[in-house]
């Protein structure tokens, strides 16, 4: 698994809990090093070991832990960059949802080795969507759930999200867009980071 994904897990544990907790989790996962390098590739088993170690150390279900990771990815100052890159996906939350199909390709444009979960969005009604998420990491659908919830806040829309379990194609998340102008979203300036 790409170092960026592992590093995101590590930063989540450091920032949400503490560097000491991360050290314990890393030790429990028998990583043999103190920190993931975001630009190196690691064996998938190490990612799995970190998730198991963190869930056990925090005494939290894997699903809840992964959902928190998803929320962290777009709402914490450390990951502001990722939020911005996701916001490039569209002017409205619905645009953003449709851009998820392209997300793995977009990510590969920037970083050819980065394998993001395969995401397929289908509209099931005027304001209803179904997102299928296929990934070698079990529970990636819960990461997407947390991420979508935080992105909905970012766009200022009200959504109802539900993890519908596993299908043949992957984990299924249902999305109901209840109010497209629920609150003022966070601003997004195209040029903010262009130096």
């Amino acid at each position: 698994m790409h170092g960026l994904v592992n590093r995101a897990l590590e930063c989540f544990l450091r920032d949400t809990y503490s560097p000491a907790l991360w050290a314990e989790v890393a030790h429990g996962a028998r990583l043999g090093f103190g920190s993931f390098e975001p630009m190196l590739i690691y064996d998938l088993s190490q990612t799995e070991a970190v998730i198991l170690s963190a869930a056990s150390r925090l005494d939290r279900p894997r699903e809840a832990l992964l959902e928190d990771v998803g929320t962290y990815l777009v709402s914490h100052p450390t990951t502001e960059r990722l939020r911005r890159l996701l916001r490039f996906g569209g002017v409205t939350f619905a645009d953003f949802l449709h851009s998820l199909d392209d997300l793995p390709d977009r990510a590969r444009l920037a970083l050819p080795e980065l394998e993001l979960p395969d995401l397929r969005l289908t509209a099931t009604g005027p304001h209803r969507f179904r997102l299928v998420c296929a990934s070698p990491i079990a529970g990636m659908g819960h990461v997407m759930l947390g991420l979508l919830r935080a992105m909905a806040d970012d766009y200022g829309v009200l959504v109802l999200l539900e993890h519908r379990g596993q299908s043949a194609e992957g984990e299924v998340v249902s999305i109901a867009l209840l109010d497209a102008a629920f609150a003022a979203g966070r601003p997004f300036d195209l040029a903010e980071r262009l130096g």
């Binding site: 390098e37 630009m39 890159l85 990510a107 920037a110 040029a191 262009l194």
Partner: protein
């Protein structure tokens, strides 16, 4: 190309949607229409103003009239806005149907980053077919990736330096080790500058180890290392090359007497009792020396062998002696008893 043979009807709103950076000129060259994104470049609405008051055609050169512009229909144009921003534009011009003027479609080209920043443009300012937002996304993503790679490079470089330092350091004394000495000797020869070399061996070290234990022996080695570090300059190399043997390189030294003086001071300092847990440990130093100027050309193996032979002669002359070895297998030039 660009001929308006058959007219098709499209409203100004449709043009705004398809080409948010278009300009329409009437037959006199005044601006009769302007796309919404292009309008953001000017503090006042540009409608009615002469095109050449607001824009300069940089390439092709010499286009200063509406008819000259019209004659370049279909050619790629490079323009600059005369609004003090220096924003460059590129585009193409085509005549409108029935001689009703000209239509230009413009884009920011490579200066788009500057334009987005300066004019606060958003996704909605670009045509649906325009890849500008994808370009901005890529610039941002690639910048982030590059920064991460720079950070990784810095960490790797630090780790490499630390590993190199570790590989060249004698753990017990903090002096350089045998490997570092060999490198320093090679480097000294490569610079073609003269240098002196000293080989120092402790006398009675085995006795200290046997009577007081290895901790005392280690303490003595560290103390001797401090003496040697003190008596040498920062550019000299001081190495422990094994057990109780030390070797030193003195770049720039071609004078035997200068090296002898240093050796005499070292011998005198090492001769002083070293306290370990309140008890004095006594060792002495024997030193063999040679100079690169005695060798032509200087070769590492030969220089080391000469220093070793000089040390052997010093040992035979008694403890606390420094001997300067001369080249060519001759007998040592003479022994200087320590003070």
């Amino acid at each position: 190309m660009g001929a308006a043979a058959t007219g098709i009807g499209i409203g100004a709103g449709g043009l705004d949607l398809l080409m948010p950076m278009h300009l329409r000129l009437d037959p006199s060259g005044a601006i009769s229409g302007c796309g919404p994104t292009l309008r953001k470049l000017f503090p006042e609405p540009p409608l009615g103003r002469p095109f050449f008051h607001l824009f300069e055609v940089c390439r092709p050169a010499g286009i200063e009239t509406t008819s000259a512009l019209s004659a370049r229909s279909g050619t790629r144009l490079h323009l600059a806005a005369r609004n003090g921003s220096g924003v460059c534009l590129r585009g193409v011009v085509t005549p409108l149907h029935d001689g009703r003027g000209l239509l230009l479609n413009l884009s920011f080209g490579i200066s788009v980053l500057e334009a987005v920043r300066r004019h606060g443009l958003t996704n909605g300012d670009f045509a649906a077919t325009d890849l500008t937002v994808e370009l901005l996304y890529l610039v941002e993503a690639k910048t982030a990736v590059t920064e991460e790679l720079h950070r990784l490079n810095r960490r790797l470089e630090q780790a490499r330096r630390a590993a190199e330092e570790e590989a060249l350091t004698d753990e017990l004394t903090g002096l350089r080790n045998r490997r570092a000495l060999d490198q320093a000797l090679e480097a000294a020869i490569l610079t073609r500058q003269p240098f002196g070399l000293m080989h120092l061996d402790l006398d009675f070290f085995k006795e200290v180890n046997d009577s007081f234990g290895h901790a005392a022996g280690d303490h003595v080695l560290r103390s001797v290392a401090q003496v040697l570090a003190r008596e040498t300059r920062s550019g000299d190399t001081v190495a422990r090359i094994g057990g109780d043997e030390f070797m030193m390189i003195f770049p720039g030294v071609a004078d035997a007497e200068r090296l002898r003086k240093v050796a005499r001071r070292m011998i005198a300092e090492v001769d002083k009792p070293i306290l370990f847990e309140g008890r004095p440990c006594r060792v002495a130093a024997s030193i063999g020396m040679t100079l690169s100027v005695l060798h032509d050309p200087p070769e590492p193996a030969r220089i080391l062998a000469d220093a070793d032979a000089a040390l052997y002669a010093a040992k035979r002359a008694g403890r606390g002696v420094a001997v300067m070895r001369q080249v060519g297998g001759r007998r040592p030039a003479g022994a200087q008893p320590g003070p």
